[in-house]
Symmetry: C2
DNA sequence: CGCGATTTGTGCACGCCTTCACAAGCGCCT
DNA sequence: AGGCGCTTGTGAAGGCGTGCACAAATCGCG
């Protein structure tokens, strides 16, 4: 349906034709497909069926086919998808044909780990600079990079074309850092600080909050427990009488062992 | 539809017994509301309107009201929500009235940081044990906890009631670790390894992949660039063209995972 | 004591996403 | 060459989530 370009091994970089605007849900899954495809390529597979790829990516095969069809996919009926071709396609759509520069702000506990995270490098990114507001951390070398003071952000940004900013500071500092990133032209931010960022239109923010993930799991854990017949948390009248309150919920671990 | 029960007298005891089964999207937002509420409580607010709370949590007020209504909410028309009461409510629903024990497997680069992450502790969890398969790391003390060998998992699990397992190992080891966690009765897993885990029914897995987040941002960056008629590879150029609002946003912005 | 200002709770409509089911296309085997 | 089995791509249906808009409820004040 849409006219696509031939991704041949030759053409990379290059600005290009209009990207089909994919459903957000599809975009969020493409990286997963990409990872699965790389695994397949490494294990010597030349082609792969939607069923097999879907399994490897942990999704439904119909969903996968629809996702791929959105980007005007190149599958062959009766055969499957060409692994190498599909990798090129997805990498192109995701904008991974150029290795984007990432600036990481905040080299505390978490930031320190992120700076050394191999996954960033191996999957299309390049950590271009590290920043912190704490003078005592400035100058420290992490993974071959020297930590700069956040005040130098503008200077560095003028040299490196920073595509994405990663915020790994404490929450109170995050908004200020975001403002500075936006000021130097960054339009994509990955925020690890547990707070809401306010940014201008046109700037994308994605948030990762580790505690929230645990809390969601906690909910399901709680729900599972309450289904399997829990001691305390009786219905209706069960725990209303407790003055001190909260002890009423099952202090019991109900997960079957 | 939802039968709420009245706040039964005495003070503010979280008093909802049966867990209503909330929409998954709502569950994913509750932790965000909770965080915002704690902030409000610390700044001396006793009540809060849906509008104010929604802003603090970065969502739409109608959405917030609907979310809260699902858990049989206790708001007062014309006034707003009682902050302390709402905190109790949400914490109860999320199962945070008991401090759940977390087992962290893999104390490499990322795991090391997670072990020291204060957010886990401050938001309802307790790191009960650290594990690794690497003998050279066993015995190391991190943040007051000694790293145990993964083979000791069963032993420790028998002592501590582990509610949630966190996997921060390299991808190839993740499935094996997941199997071991499941074997000792863990039914909730947070997976940081970039791979799909296969687990039995009844076990919840949530995945956090840092590289995927960056790749999603990369897509939007790519798309934004392709709209504004890009030069081949000059990202930083966007600096001057911004003011005014060119972007066709409105649906972008912090998409939940 | 009643009225108006304010804010919650929700019915409803719309759009996105998922899933099913199947026709069309392709390669292989006879 | 022809038929058969396999796999893709997609129309259609159903479900879920979002946001609007408004009635119901509550408080404060005159």
């Amino acid at each position: 349906m849409s006219q696509h370009r031939h991704p041949g091994a030759s053409g990379h970089t290059g600005a290009v034709p209009a990207l089909p605007d994919l459903p957000e849900a599809t975009v969020a899954r493409l990286p997963e497909y990409l990872r699965a495809l790389h695994n397949l390529a490494e294990t010597g597979h030349d082609t792969v069926s939607s069923e097999a790829l879907a399994t490897a990516a942990g999704v439904n095969s119909a969903k996968l086919r629809k996702d791929l069809s959105h980007l005007g996919s190149y599958g062959t009926r009766g055969v499957g998808y060409d692994v190498a071709l599909l990798i090129d396609q997805i990498e192109y759509v995701l904008g991974l044909t150029q290795r984007r520069a990432v600036a990481l702000v905040g080299v505390g506990n978490l930031g320190h780990a992120l700076a050394g995270y191999a996954g960033f490098v191996s999957r299309g990114f390049r950590i271009a600079a590290l920043f912190d507001a704490d003078e005592s951390r400035v100058g420290e070398e992490i993974n071959g990079l020297v930590v700069r003071h956040i005040d130098d952000l503008a200077t560095i940004a003028a040299q490196e074309a920073i595509a994405i900013g990663v915020i790994a500071t404490p929450a109170p500092a995050a908004q200020s850092v975001a403002d500075r990133l936006v000021a130097v032209g960054v339009t994509s931010i990955l925020n690890f600080a547990p707070c809401v960022l306010s940014v201008p239109d046109g700037v994308d923010v994605r948030k990762v909050d580790l505690a929230i993930e645990l809390q969601i799991l906690s909910f399901h854990e709680h729900r599972k427990a309450s289904l399997t017949g829990i001691p305390a948390s009786g219905p209706a009248a069960g725990l209303t009488a407790l003055p001190g309150g909260l002890a009423a919920t099952g202090t019991q671990e109900a997960v079957g062992s």
